[in-house]
Protein backbone atom coordinates (compact mmCIF):
# COMPACT_ATOMS: atom_id res chain seq x y z
CA UNK A 1 0.00 0.00 0.00
CA UNK A 2 1.47 3.35 -1.06
CA UNK A 3 1.45 6.28 1.36
CA UNK A 4 -1.13 7.96 -0.81
CA UNK A 5 -3.42 4.95 -0.26
CA UNK A 6 -3.35 5.37 3.52
CA UNK A 7 -6.31 7.25 4.99
CA UNK A 8 -5.57 10.45 6.86
CA UNK A 9 -5.96 10.41 10.63
CA UNK A 10 -9.09 12.54 10.54
CA UNK A 11 -10.76 10.48 7.81
CA UNK A 12 -14.27 9.27 8.45
CA UNK A 13 -14.79 5.53 8.70
CA UNK A 14 -17.19 3.48 6.59
CA UNK A 15 -17.88 -0.17 7.40
CA UNK A 16 -19.46 -2.36 4.74
CA UNK A 17 -20.99 -5.72 5.59
CA UNK A 18 -21.45 -8.19 2.74
CA UNK A 19 -23.78 -11.12 3.45
CA UNK A 20 -24.34 -12.57 -0.04
CA UNK A 21 -21.96 -14.69 -2.06
CA UNK A 22 -20.48 -13.80 -5.45
CA UNK A 23 -22.44 -14.13 -8.73
CA UNK A 24 -25.75 -15.07 -7.07
CA UNK A 25 -26.59 -11.37 -7.05
CA UNK A 26 -24.83 -8.03 -7.55
CA UNK A 27 -24.37 -7.54 -3.81
CA UNK A 28 -20.67 -8.48 -3.81
CA UNK A 29 -19.94 -6.32 -6.84
CA UNK A 30 -21.73 -3.34 -5.33
CA UNK A 31 -20.14 -3.77 -1.90
CA UNK A 32 -16.57 -3.92 -3.20
CA UNK A 33 -17.03 -1.13 -5.70
CA UNK A 34 -18.59 1.03 -2.99
CA UNK A 35 -15.56 0.29 -0.80
CA UNK A 36 -13.18 1.29 -3.60
CA UNK A 37 -15.12 4.47 -4.37
CA UNK A 38 -15.17 5.43 -0.68
CA UNK A 39 -11.40 4.89 -0.45
CA UNK A 40 -10.91 7.17 -3.45
CA UNK A 41 -12.93 9.79 -1.57
CA UNK A 42 -10.62 9.47 1.43
CA UNK A 43 -12.67 7.32 3.79
CA UNK A 44 -11.11 4.76 6.04
CA UNK A 45 -12.98 1.67 4.83
CA UNK A 46 -13.65 -1.68 6.48
CA UNK A 47 -15.22 -4.50 4.46
CA UNK A 48 -16.50 -7.47 6.45
CA UNK A 49 -17.55 -10.60 4.56
CA UNK A 50 -20.23 -12.39 6.54
CA UNK A 51 -22.23 -15.57 5.90
CA UNK A 52 -21.97 -16.46 2.17
CA UNK A 53 -20.10 -13.20 1.62
CA UNK A 54 -17.03 -15.07 2.84
CA UNK A 55 -16.91 -16.91 -0.49
CA UNK A 56 -15.72 -13.80 -2.32
CA UNK A 57 -12.30 -14.22 -0.77
CA UNK A 58 -12.02 -17.62 -2.44
CA UNK A 59 -12.06 -16.25 -6.01
CA UNK A 60 -8.38 -16.21 -6.87
CA UNK A 61 -8.19 -16.90 -10.61
CA UNK A 62 -8.60 -14.51 -13.53
CA UNK A 63 -12.00 -14.43 -15.26
CA UNK A 64 -13.13 -13.08 -18.61
CA UNK A 65 -16.26 -11.73 -16.93
CA UNK A 66 -16.91 -9.74 -13.75
CA UNK A 67 -14.47 -10.77 -11.08
CA UNK A 68 -15.24 -9.69 -7.50
CA UNK A 69 -12.16 -11.60 -6.33
CA UNK A 70 -9.95 -9.35 -8.45
CA UNK A 71 -11.74 -6.24 -7.18
CA UNK A 72 -11.25 -7.50 -3.65
CA UNK A 73 -7.49 -7.86 -4.23
CA UNK A 74 -7.50 -4.34 -5.61
CA UNK A 75 -9.36 -3.13 -2.52
CA UNK A 76 -6.72 -4.69 -0.26
CA UNK A 77 -3.97 -2.98 -2.26
CA UNK A 78 -5.81 0.33 -1.94
CA UNK A 79 -5.94 0.09 1.84
CA UNK A 80 -9.41 -1.28 2.51
CA UNK A 81 -9.39 -3.36 5.69
CA UNK A 82 -10.91 -6.67 4.62
CA UNK A 83 -12.18 -9.20 7.15
CA UNK A 84 -14.05 -12.48 6.86
CA UNK A 85 -16.15 -14.08 9.58
CA UNK A 86 -14.22 -16.88 11.22
CA UNK A 87 -17.22 -19.13 11.84
CA UNK A 88 -18.61 -18.57 8.36
CA UNK A 89 -15.19 -19.32 6.85
CA UNK A 90 -14.73 -22.44 8.93
CA UNK A 91 -18.16 -23.74 7.92
CA UNK A 92 -17.16 -23.35 4.27
CA UNK A 93 -13.62 -24.75 4.69
CA UNK A 94 -12.16 -21.35 3.86
CA UNK A 95 -8.82 -20.56 5.44
CA UNK A 96 -5.68 -18.52 4.93
CA UNK A 97 -4.41 -21.08 2.40
CA UNK A 98 -7.35 -20.85 0.02
CA UNK A 99 -8.43 -17.22 0.18
CA UNK A 100 -6.75 -14.14 -1.22
CA UNK A 101 -3.91 -12.54 0.69
CA UNK A 102 -4.74 -9.62 2.92
CA UNK A 103 -8.04 -11.01 4.21
CA UNK A 104 -8.19 -11.18 7.98
CA UNK A 105 -10.26 -14.18 9.04
CA UNK A 106 -11.58 -12.96 12.36
CA UNK A 107 -14.46 -13.23 14.81
CA UNK A 108 -17.72 -11.32 14.85
CA UNK A 109 -16.35 -9.23 17.72
CA UNK A 110 -14.02 -7.59 15.17
CA UNK A 111 -17.07 -6.70 13.12
CA UNK A 112 -18.67 -5.02 16.12
CA UNK A 113 -15.47 -3.14 16.92
CA UNK A 114 -15.50 -1.83 13.37
CA UNK A 115 -19.19 -0.93 13.62
CA UNK A 116 -18.67 0.95 16.88
CA UNK A 117 -15.88 3.11 15.46
CA UNK A 118 -17.68 3.84 12.18
CA UNK A 119 -19.45 6.97 11.01
CA UNK A 120 -21.56 4.96 8.55
CA UNK A 121 -22.40 1.28 8.19
CA UNK A 122 -23.81 -0.25 5.01
CA UNK A 123 -25.10 -3.79 4.59
CA UNK A 124 -25.19 -5.46 1.16
CA UNK A 125 -27.16 -8.68 0.91
CA UNK A 126 -30.69 -9.62 1.89
Amino acid sequence: MNNRDKPSQDAKTLTIILTRGPYVSEAADMAINTALRARRKGYNVNLFMYLDGAWVGHIKEEKDYNNPGEWLRWAVRKGVNVGACERCSDARDLNADNVNEGIDICGSYRLMEWVKESHKVLTFGG
Partner: protein, 120 residues
Protein backbone atom coordinates in the same frame (compact mmCIF):
# COMPACT_ATOMS: atom_id res chain seq x y z
CA UNK B 1 -19.00 9.53 16.99
CA UNK B 2 -19.16 5.98 18.34
CA UNK B 3 -22.09 3.86 17.30
CA UNK B 4 -24.07 2.79 20.36
CA UNK B 5 -27.26 1.16 19.18
CA UNK B 6 -28.03 -1.44 16.54
CA UNK B 7 -31.32 -2.44 14.97
CA UNK B 8 -31.19 -5.95 13.50
CA UNK B 9 -34.02 -6.75 11.12
CA UNK B 10 -34.41 -10.50 10.73
CA UNK B 11 -36.61 -11.72 7.92
CA UNK B 12 -35.85 -15.45 7.86
CA UNK B 13 -36.68 -18.20 10.30
CA UNK B 14 -34.39 -20.88 11.57
CA UNK B 15 -35.32 -23.48 8.98
CA UNK B 16 -34.64 -23.03 5.29
CA UNK B 17 -32.53 -19.89 5.68
CA UNK B 18 -30.82 -20.97 8.90
CA UNK B 19 -27.52 -19.27 8.06
CA UNK B 20 -29.23 -15.88 7.83
CA UNK B 21 -31.14 -16.48 11.06
CA UNK B 22 -28.10 -17.72 12.95
CA UNK B 23 -25.95 -14.95 11.45
CA UNK B 24 -28.38 -12.38 12.80
CA UNK B 25 -28.23 -13.94 16.27
CA UNK B 26 -24.43 -14.11 16.22
CA UNK B 27 -24.17 -10.44 15.23
CA UNK B 28 -26.74 -9.42 17.84
CA UNK B 29 -25.07 -11.26 20.69
CA UNK B 30 -21.62 -10.03 19.67
CA UNK B 31 -22.90 -6.46 19.72
CA UNK B 32 -24.39 -6.94 23.18
CA UNK B 33 -21.13 -8.42 24.41
CA UNK B 34 -19.38 -5.31 23.09
CA UNK B 35 -21.66 -3.12 25.19
CA UNK B 36 -24.03 -1.90 22.50
CA UNK B 37 -27.80 -1.55 22.78
CA UNK B 38 -29.47 -4.03 20.46
CA UNK B 39 -33.03 -4.31 19.21
CA UNK B 40 -33.76 -7.40 17.17
CA UNK B 41 -36.92 -7.18 15.12
CA UNK B 42 -38.44 -10.34 13.71
CA UNK B 43 -40.59 -9.92 10.61
CA UNK B 44 -41.92 -12.09 7.78
CA UNK B 45 -40.69 -15.70 8.32
CA UNK B 46 -38.28 -14.40 10.96
CA UNK B 47 -41.14 -14.43 13.48
CA UNK B 48 -40.96 -18.25 13.58
CA UNK B 49 -37.61 -17.99 15.31
CA UNK B 50 -39.29 -16.76 18.51
CA UNK B 51 -41.73 -19.67 18.86
CA UNK B 52 -41.11 -21.26 22.21
CA UNK B 53 -40.74 -24.99 22.69
CA UNK B 54 -39.14 -25.71 19.31
CA UNK B 55 -37.58 -29.16 19.35
CA UNK B 56 -36.18 -29.88 15.89
CA UNK B 57 -33.34 -32.16 16.93
CA UNK B 58 -35.41 -35.17 15.83
CA UNK B 59 -35.03 -33.98 12.25
CA UNK B 60 -31.38 -33.14 12.70
CA UNK B 61 -31.78 -29.37 12.89
CA UNK B 62 -30.75 -26.86 15.53
CA UNK B 63 -33.10 -24.14 16.75
CA UNK B 64 -31.93 -20.68 17.77
CA UNK B 65 -33.77 -20.71 21.09
CA UNK B 66 -30.58 -20.92 23.15
CA UNK B 67 -29.15 -17.97 21.20
CA UNK B 68 -32.37 -16.03 21.81
CA UNK B 69 -32.12 -16.89 25.52
CA UNK B 70 -28.55 -15.54 25.57
CA UNK B 71 -29.72 -12.44 23.70
CA UNK B 72 -32.44 -11.71 26.26
CA UNK B 73 -30.19 -12.47 29.22
CA UNK B 74 -27.56 -10.08 27.85
CA UNK B 75 -30.17 -7.31 27.77
CA UNK B 76 -31.30 -7.40 24.16
CA UNK B 77 -34.80 -6.29 23.20
CA UNK B 78 -36.81 -8.68 21.03
CA UNK B 79 -39.68 -7.20 19.05
CA UNK B 80 -41.98 -9.13 16.73
CA UNK B 81 -44.07 -7.66 13.93
CA UNK B 82 -47.75 -8.23 14.65
CA UNK B 83 -48.82 -8.40 11.00
CA UNK B 84 -46.27 -11.11 10.22
CA UNK B 85 -47.59 -13.20 13.11
CA UNK B 86 -51.18 -12.80 11.95
CA UNK B 87 -50.33 -13.76 8.37
CA UNK B 88 -48.81 -17.00 9.66
CA UNK B 89 -51.52 -17.80 12.21
CA UNK B 90 -49.13 -17.58 15.14
CA UNK B 91 -50.50 -16.32 18.45
CA UNK B 92 -48.61 -14.10 20.88
CA UNK B 93 -48.78 -16.79 23.57
CA UNK B 94 -46.80 -19.14 21.32
CA UNK B 95 -43.75 -16.89 21.56
CA UNK B 96 -41.01 -16.67 24.17
CA UNK B 97 -42.36 -14.57 27.02
CA UNK B 98 -40.05 -11.58 26.63
CA UNK B 99 -41.03 -11.01 22.99
CA UNK B 100 -42.79 -7.67 22.45
CA UNK B 101 -45.41 -7.82 19.72
CA UNK B 102 -46.06 -4.53 17.96
CA UNK B 103 -47.31 -2.92 14.79
CA UNK B 104 -44.84 -2.72 11.93
CA UNK B 105 -44.92 1.10 12.00
CA UNK B 106 -43.69 1.06 15.60
CA UNK B 107 -40.95 -1.39 14.67
CA UNK B 108 -39.76 0.82 11.84
CA UNK B 109 -39.46 3.74 14.23
CA UNK B 110 -36.86 1.74 16.15
CA UNK B 111 -34.87 1.42 12.94
CA UNK B 112 -34.85 5.19 12.57
CA UNK B 113 -33.85 5.76 16.19
CA UNK B 114 -30.87 3.37 16.19
CA UNK B 115 -27.39 4.34 15.01
CA UNK B 116 -27.02 1.30 12.76
CA UNK B 117 -29.51 -0.89 10.96
CA UNK B 118 -28.66 -4.33 9.60
CA UNK B 119 -30.94 -6.66 7.66
CA UNK B 120 -30.63 -10.44 7.56
Amino acid sequence: MPMKSIFIYTLHGTYGRDDDAYGAMLAANSALAKGMDVIMALAEDGVCMAKKGQEPTGVGMPSNLSEIRDFLDLGGRLVVVKQSLEERGIGERELVEEAEVMDIAQVHRFALDCDVSMTY
